[in-house]
């Protein structure tokens, strides 16, 4: 696997070092012989510096030479040919960072600060935030436990370069023989070489910005089954259930509708099996209950009535505004069938509102339940206490801010995650907490139920994402690899993958079956707070505090488009049920609609392959409309089955 190579090298060198220390020549030779496959010759030469791998930045380099060699490098970059200039320029930032850390580590604080002040502001805008964080570190003590310095210390900064540029750089380094520079470049930089012409500045900027540089090509080589598998035979399912469910008079008006639905292009597409879809048994899925089947049919019938949206037919939007909330609302979610709204608050409670005339009922008591005729068709309805209906219910149990809530697809369960580093599973029938899942060590930022139910995934401040099943106390998979908080998580519509967005400014796609990452996508310049998969499953939209929405093609992990327009952090994204529109909601009190259909048509017409980076589409051409609310930041967006857009916002009476 791709990233395993990086630590492997370090580990190998460390092991070699240890072997040498204890004078175990035979083993060393053996290991060398074996490891030679991966370690290139240059590394052999620097074996004497292997020490630095163990001690990080220990260096006996003259502190005076750092600045001179940086200036030298900068000079070289600026004076090189225009086509190579920008690619070469990519090494300036990591070199500066590592020089700074090396100086700090060796106690030359003054020199370090000097260097940073002189060249820090020259770096690209999107690196300034990290530089600011690094600038805090002025002593060796500060480095221990610092997230950013640890990341830099233990990971190589990945730079993608064309063969020509790389050879140019190598020649330069060979000529100059700057020991400081050579050391840093060998230890801390990893060049991912590709064949082809060097990239220009905008191409570089599009994918730059992550904490440890770009993703290597190897990271995105694995095949991703991004298709949606054939629905478990909704037709055969539908027919009998339908007949059972309705009888007599309902039968006749429904029949023509059914026939019509079969001709629906969406439906016929589903019956053809998608070549990119995973085998249906790739992950174990719980069997469908009768109730689920009824629900599926209902949903299918609803969707046949939905409006297909486009630039000419924009959706209607209903806004649910939370009043008197004064910054206490942290998250909100609406059920798939748009019947309930759950809201998490900073005072540890979760509130559920009903959005339809049906009230929120609780189950009858155990004694009363014994009287219920279990053979009755409407046993589920009979279980509920008719007199207990309320428009909203409160769930109390967490010990810290609730950061995310998620409904199960059958609407009987609700998950919530909190600052108290627990996840709670609530029953929406008896309105109590059923399970407390513990495992994360730090506040949990996000939780999502799988679209098929049973599984759920969480993202946490402890830099891991985890996959759980509702009937297991322990997590099934731990997705580790992010260098900072995992801020958001999202299930792929086929449930085989989860995507995570992180404060290290990378989006990762993880395979639930193996637990490995299959895509790493860089290009965000700030933490990512929301992810959304397109209806077709091929594209992923991500957004965050850099106010841009990026669209990724999961087939190769390419950045496809960048939607700019929001002024503040985007916290919610959703695709219309027909897949033609993307709606985004932001703290700048606006909801914007984007023409996703146009984008996917534009993208499909292009021939892309793995080594070639397609041009990133930007611009206003895709934005259809922006709707402002009255100083109410948008917390959540949701398309109903009929493509009515629901927005949840919190009225902010203080700042106005």
């Amino acid at each position: 696997m791709g990233t395993n190579i990086t630590p492997d090298k370090n580990q190998l060198l460390a092991v070699l070092q240890v072997l040498r220390k204890y004078n175990l020549k035979g083993t060393e030779e053996l290991l060398k012989k074996e490891a030679n496959v991966t370690i290139n010759l240059e590394r052999e030469k620097t074996e004497s510096d292997v020490n630095s791998v163990l001690t990080g930045y220990k260096s006996d380099g003259d502190p005076e030479t750092y600045e001179a060699s940086y200036v030298e490098l900068k000079h070289f970059v600026e004076n090189s040919l225009d086509i190579y200039k920008h690619e070469l320029g990519m090494i300036l930032y990591p070199v500066l960072v590592h020089m700074y850390l090396e100086l700090v580590y060796n106690g030359h604080t003054e020199k370090a600060i000097n260097l940073m002040q002189k060249f820090g502001p020259d770096q690209d805008l999107y690196y300034q935030e990290d530089l600011r964080k690094l600038a805090l570190v002025t002593k060796r003590d500060h480095m221990s436990g610092n997230e950013l310095t640890d990341t830099f210390k233990s990971n190589q900064f990945i730079i993608r370069m064309s063969r020509d540029t790389l050879s140019l750089l190598k020649r330069h380094l060979h000529d100059k023989k700057e020991s400081v520079l050579l050391n840093i470049i060998q230890e801390h930089l990893y060049f991912d070489m590709y064949e082809g012409v060097a990239r220009n500045k905008s191409q570089i900027d599009a994918t730059a910005g992550a904490v440890v540089g770009e993703a290597t090509r190897l990271d995105n080589k694995a095949k991703v089954y991004y298709g949606i598998p054939k629905a478990p035979d909704i037709q055969t399912l539908a027919a009998p259930v339908e007949d059972e469910e309705e009888g007599g008079e309902q039968e006749t008006p429904d029949k023509p509708k059914k026939k019509k639905a079969k001709k629906d292009p969406l439906f016929s597409k589903k019956t053809k099996s998608d070549p990119n879809a995973p085998p249906p048994d790739r992950i174990p899925i719980p069997d469908l209950k009768d109730n689920d089947k009824v629900e599926k049919v209902k949903s299918f019938r609803e969707s046949s009535r939905r409006i297909t949206l486009g630039p000419e037919t924009l959706p209607s939007m209903c806004s649910y505004t939370l009043l008197n909330a004064n910054y206490t609302v942290t998250c909100a979610e609406i059920t798939e069938d748009s019947s309930m709204l759950a809201v998490g608050f900073s005072d540890s409670i979760v509130k559920v509102w009903t959005l339809v005339p049906q009230k929120l009922k609780t189950m009858k008591s155990a004694e009363q339940l014994q009287d219920v005729n279990t053979d009755a068709e409407d046993v589920l309805a009979r279980m509920m206490d008719e007199r207990s209906g309320e428009t909203s219910r409160t769930l109390v149990g967490h010990g810290g801010t609730v950061y995310s809530v998620s409904f199960s697809p059958d609407r009987t369960l609700l998950l919530s995650c909190s600052e108290d580093s627990t996840i709670r599973l609530w029953s929406l029938q008896i309105w109590t907490c059923l399970v407390v899942y513990k495992g994360h060590m730090f506040p949990i930022w996000d939780v999502k139920f799988s679209p098929l139910g049973y599984y759920f995934a969480t993202a946490s401040h402890d830099r891991t994402a985890r996959l759980w099943a509702t009937d297991h106390y322990q997590s099934l998979r731990v997705f580790a690899g992010h260098f900072s908080d995992v801020d958001c998580i999202q299930f792929h519509p086929n449930s085989n993958y989860v995507a995570t967005g992180s404060s290290d400014r990378r989006v990762c796609l993880w395979d639930c079956v193996t637990g490995n990452h299959v895509r790493i996508m860089t290009g965000h310049k700030s933490p990512i707070y929301v992810l959304a998969f397109s209806i077709c499953g091929r594209f992923l939209a991500s957004a965050g505090s850099d106010n841009n929405i990026l669209i990724w093609d999961l087939a190769h992990g390419h950045l496809v488009a960048e939607f700019q327009g929001h002024d503040k952090t985007i916290h919610t994204l959703t695709f219309s049920r027909c897949g033609n529109l993307l709606a985004s909601g932001s703290l700048d009190d606006t909801v914007k609609l984007w023409d996703f259909n146009k984008l996917s048509e534009d993208t499909n017409s292009e021939d892309v392959n793995i080594s070639h980076n397609p041009d990133v589409k930007t611009g206003d051409t895709y934005m259809l409309r922006s709707f402002a609310t009255k100083s109410s930041p948008i917390i959540a967006l949701h398309f109903t089955r009929r493509n009515l857009l629901l927005a949840v916002s919190m009225y902010d009476g203080i700042t106005t």
């Binding site: 600038a135 806004s319 939370l322």
Partner: protein, 635 residues
């Protein structure tokens, strides 16, 4: 604060002095410098680190504002006990204090009396969080309802009126809120830039609102009127209806000035005030229509049917204050509103005896509201002439009651506004003779007023200084008088009673009212109106038992405005009241409306001039002032 570096990247850190002060405050007297330095560095690092981490908590709470519990969460996540007892109010204002070469920023902390705190039983419970739903957009169009932000904020409106080019460059789809169509794209391709016709489509709801509001504003129900005016003053979504509202007002003034219907004029002026007060509206585009209307209400010769009894002075005062507020709000170096308004008032002052006394009063009041400097330069030099003129009426033998009342008002006004100015202009002692020679007839009165002003303790704000103060709400007091009067003025001969008090049932489902408005000022012209009176008011009397059926019955209203003579060209606005906001029976029952309804013609170029009202006809020069040459170009 000592700066670690000049660079942005490093920012500030704690100074050694801060450390020492903090050390002292916890009882460590002599903290060595190097220890303080070490501490300062460490604490700066840690605090910055905490704040960086707190930002994560802030972002996940969907906020852009760091709050105390973000810091608490950070501390908790690092296994450090959070700082209890802190809470933040809406915002934390940093107070600044300096002295002895030291500068200090601090947050004011009030001492809490624990006893009060403990015994206080009736603590206010916070309001419960509620969910409210509304339509944010319908088929891609955002409805203008109070829950939505105004379609165009004030800044945009201002920009648009100041720099019309700006609107042309803007993509149309954003501003209009309507789906973009292929047609609009063409515009950019055309080489000749044609100003787009402004389309003002009003939704059915807006039409209904317009109808309700206009009815309530000029109807008889005072509580409804207050509600309606409040809505006009506060509702954010009125931008699209503004042209119509303005047309309603100016048409209303135009007609009611001729009809001498004081009450309606006052209601219309209150509408102007409400629109002026609305924070989301920028009226500049409509000033060329509004200012003539307002000024008409100041200087018109006759505003009411019985000038000797009705308090039309209140209307003139109110309109003057409105005028001053408009000048203050919208005067720019390009439109020079204040200069032009001032010049107009001044010119009328120079007409001498030809100017009716009521118009003179209006002009004087209009000027006096524009500020001390205006009074000093434009009123004071004329005081002798004016004095001589009103002396005739006040002291002379041929006393006409009407003129006497008017002269009395002018005198009171002049004394009121001039006294504080003269007080400052002249040095005591105030000799009776000097005043007499300088100010003529008004001398003695002024002298006594000045003497009185000198003896009184200096008031913080003199009346003249507040002249351009926002129009106060005192008009409501002024309203009451005319209200009652108008009700009484329904004199036979002036009113066609169309709804006799004793009528049992409504005559038919379809009623027809004919309003004939006579604009002719020549007394001798032939009049097609059913009454031989010069100004005819068509009224429906309040029936003692109002028939609700009448209200529901579809009606047809025909309002005929006759130009100068009873010639052919006349405006006929005939509308079905059920669908159009013209005048419906319910509002007519108040018995005051004579204003024509607003036709549906969008953005019809309004003739900015008032029709030749009575006062103009007798004073050709004044007529020029309020004629098209001047005011229609105000904007």
């Amino acid at each position: 604060m000592a700066k670690a570096s000049e660079s942005d990247l490093y920012g500030t850190s704690f100074s050694i002095e801060s450390m020492k002060v903090i050390a002292e405050s916890i009882g460590i007297a002599n903290l060595p410098d190097d220890a303080a330095k070490e501490l300062a560095d460490d604490i700066s690092f840690r605090l910055k680190h905490f704040i960086q981490d707190s930002a994560k908590f802030m972002h996940h709470a969907r906020r852009n504002k760091l709050m105390y519990h973000d810091i608490d969460s950070t501390l908790r996540s690092r296994n450090i006990e959070p700082q209890y007892g802190f809470h933040s109010v809406d915002s934390l204002p940093f107070r600044f204090a300096s002295g002895g070469g030291r500068e200090l920023h601090f947050i004011e902390e009030k001492e809490v009396d624990l006893h009060d705190f403990v015994t206080n039983t009736n603590v206010k419970a916070p309001l419960d969080i509620t969910l409210r739903s509304h339509w944010l957009c319908i088929d891609g169009i955002q409805p203008a309802i109070p829950e939505n932000p105004p379609p165009q904020d004030k800044e945009m409106q201002k920009l648009e009126s100041v720099d019309p080019v700006n609107k042309m460059n803007k993509p149309n789809k954003e501003s209009s809120g309507k789906p973009s169509t292929g047609k609009q794209k063409l515009r950019n391709v055309e080489t000749v830039q044609i100003k787009q016709l402004a389309t003002h489509e009003l939704s059915v709801e807006q039409q209904l609102y317009y109808k309700e509001i206009t009815e309530a504003c000029v109807g008889s129900d005072e509580t409804r009127r207050i509600e309606a005016l409040q809505s006009l003053a506060l509702d954010p979504g009125l931008y699209e209806m503004l042209p119509r509202m303005c047309t309603f007002i100016i048409e209303g003034v135009r007609v009611n000035v001729v009809q001498n219907n004081l009450a309606l004029l006052i209601y219309l002026m209150r509408m102007v005030k409400a629109l002026l007060d609305n924070q989301s509206l920028y009226l500049e585009k409509y000033l060329h229509e509004l200012i003539p209307s307002v000024i008409t209400c100041i200087v018109s010769k006759q505003l009411c049917t019985r000038p000797e009894f009705d308090n039309h002075w209140a209307l003139r005062d109110f309109a003057s204050r409105l005028n001053a507020q408009i000048c203050k709000n919208f005067n720019t170096s390009t439109n020079n509103i204040q200069t032009r308004v001032t010049r107009m008032f001044t010119n009328s002052l120079q007409q001498g005896d030809k100017l009716p006394l009521s118009s003179l009063y209006g002009a004087l009041h209009g000027l006096s509201e524009l500020g001390t400097e205006v009074i000093k330069t434009f009123i004071l030099p004329h005081i002798k002439n004016i004095g001589a003129r009103i002396e005739v009426h006040l002291e002379g033998s041929l006393i006409s009651n009407l003129d006497k009342v008017a002269s009395g008002h002018i005198k009171a006004l002049l004394v009121k506004v001039l006294a504080p100015i003269i007080k400052n202009l002249r040095t005591p002692p105030d000799y009776f003779e000097e005043y007499k020679t300088d100010y003529g007839y008004l001398g003695p009165a002024l002298q006594s007023a000045v003497m009185k002003a000198r003896t009184q303790p200096p008031q913080p704000i003199t009346p003249t200084n507040t002249s351009i103060a926002p129009v106060s709400a005192t008009i409501s007091r002024n309203i009451t008088a005319p209200m009652g009067i108008v009700q009484n003025t329904v004199a036979p001969g002036r009113t066609i009673v169309m709804n006799p008090p004793n009528r049992g049932t409504p005559t038919s489902g379809n009623q027809k009212f004919v309003f004939v408005t006579q604009r002719s000022q020549a007394p001798g012209t032939i009049q097609p109106s059913p009454q031989p009176q010069q100004n005819t008011v068509v009224k429906i009397m309040n029936s003692p038992n109002p028939q609700p059926k009448v209200v529901n019955a579809p009606q047809k209203l025909v309002v005929v405005c006759m130009p100068n003579s009873a010639a052919t060209s006349s405006t006929v606005i005939s509308q079905n009241t059920q669908s159009q906001g013209v005048i419906s029976q319910s509002s007519l029952q108040g018995g005051q409306i004579v204003s024509p309804g607003i036709s549906q013609v969008p953005n019809q170029p309004q003739f900015a001039v008032l029709p030749k009202t009575n006062f103009i006809s007798q004073n050709p020069k004044v007529k020029q002032e309020v004629s098209i040459d001047d005011l229609s170009h105000l904007v």
